[in-house]
């Protein structure tokens, strides 16, 4: 099968989204590198390593009651031999265990390196903007 670096990276992005929809934490972090540096939507400033990212992913999935919908849009993948990056807007909907209904967009940037022939996520930055006047995070923005 012939393939391009862009298509391979895009497959990793799509597989992660589909893993979230299944609530499959192992699959969500299958392409996350051991030494990943992650800037998550929520605090702290930074998480280091696959273990910390997996723990957070498991807690996040467990905070939902029932299915999570995750859709990526405006995906831009730029890939070459051994380095790639991707940016996208993610929409997450679902109901939290405490009954709160979630329907929000956030931004995601992924940095990839090809290691032993596999595209691995070595950097992950996800966020919502915030209003500097009020200090409130902007959870209701639409693209």
């Amino acid at each position: 099968m012939t393939t391009t670096p862009e298509a391979d990276v895009r497959r990793v992005v799509d597989a992660q989204a589909s893993a979230v929809r299944r609530g499959d934490v192992d699959a969500m972090v299958a392409s996350v590198a051991e030494d990943v540096v992650s800037f998550d939507v929520v605090d702290p400033l930074r998480r280091l390593g696959h273990g910390s990212v997996s723990e957070r992913a498991a807690a996040w999935v467990a905070s939902f009651e029932g299915p999570i919908t995750w859709d990526n849009r405006d995906i831009v993948v730029t890939a070459a031999e051994d380095v790639a990056f991707a940016s996208m807007l993610c929409r997450v909907t679902g109901t939290l265990a405490n009954g709160t209904r979630i329907d929000m967009f956030f931004r995601k940037t992924l940095g990839f390196q090809r290691r032993a022939g596999r595209w691995m996520i070595t950097h992950d930055h996800a966020s919502v903007p915030f209003n500097p006047e009020t200090g409130e995070a902007s959870l209701d923005l639409l693209p």
């Binding site: 540096v37 800037f39 998550d40 939507v41 929520v42 605090d43 702290p44 400033l45 930074r46 405006d74 831009v76 730029t78 890939a79 070459a80 031999e81 051994d82 380095v83 790639a84 990056f85 940016s87 807007l89 967009f105 956030f106 931004r107 940037t109 940095g111 390196q113 070595t122 950097h123 930055h125 966020s127 919502v128 903007p129 915030f130 209003n131 500097p132 200090g135 409130e136 995070a137 902007s138 959870l139 923005l141 639409l142 693209p143």
Partner: protein, 144 residues
């Protein structure tokens, strides 16, 4: 360190110094015309001319009294061929024209492409995290 990594670090440093001294051209020069920007403040995303708007940048410069304290620290550069991504923390501080004092640590991710022999920023993502305490507030007081 490779020549490309050095060139990228110089670009990041020059850009920070240009922004610090409110040099409009120097601040915008490293950006590709088709950049996709996820800024610290709304909207979710800005593209192309909207992201590179000199008037908006000038207005932001005007909200600071004097120069802007700006240090990009803890920078990692991942570079191969004609692509690179970098990330680190941006420490931004100074006095605003409304008398407020800003002192904030920001997460910064910058993606670059080498075009016609020169590195250009094609994507930038800056943010602070959301507090997990349910307050809906941004965590603007965290330090690395």
């Amino acid at each position: 360190m490779t020549t490309d990594e050095i060139a990228i670090r110089v670009l990041l440093d020059q850009r920070a110094r240009a922004t610090s001294s409110k040099d409009l051209d120097g601040s915008l020069a490293p950006f590709a015309p088709d950049v996709v920007k996820y800024d610290i403040a709304p909207p979710l995303a800005q593209r192309g001319a909207e992201a590179n708007d000199p008037d908006a940048l000038q207005e932001w410069f005007a909200s600071w009294k004097g120069t802007i304290g700006l240090d990009l620290t803890d920078v990692t550069v991942r570079c191969a061929g004609e692509l690179a991504f970098c990330y680190g923390f941006l420490h931004m501080r100074g006095e605003r024209t409304d008398g407020e004092r800003t002192d904030i640590w920001i997460r910064s991710t910058i993606c670059l492409e080498k075009r016609a022999g020169a590195w250009k920023i094609v994507h930038e993502h800056t943010s602070v995290p959301l507090r997990m305490d349910g307050s809906g507030k941004a965590a603007t007081d965290l330090k690395p």
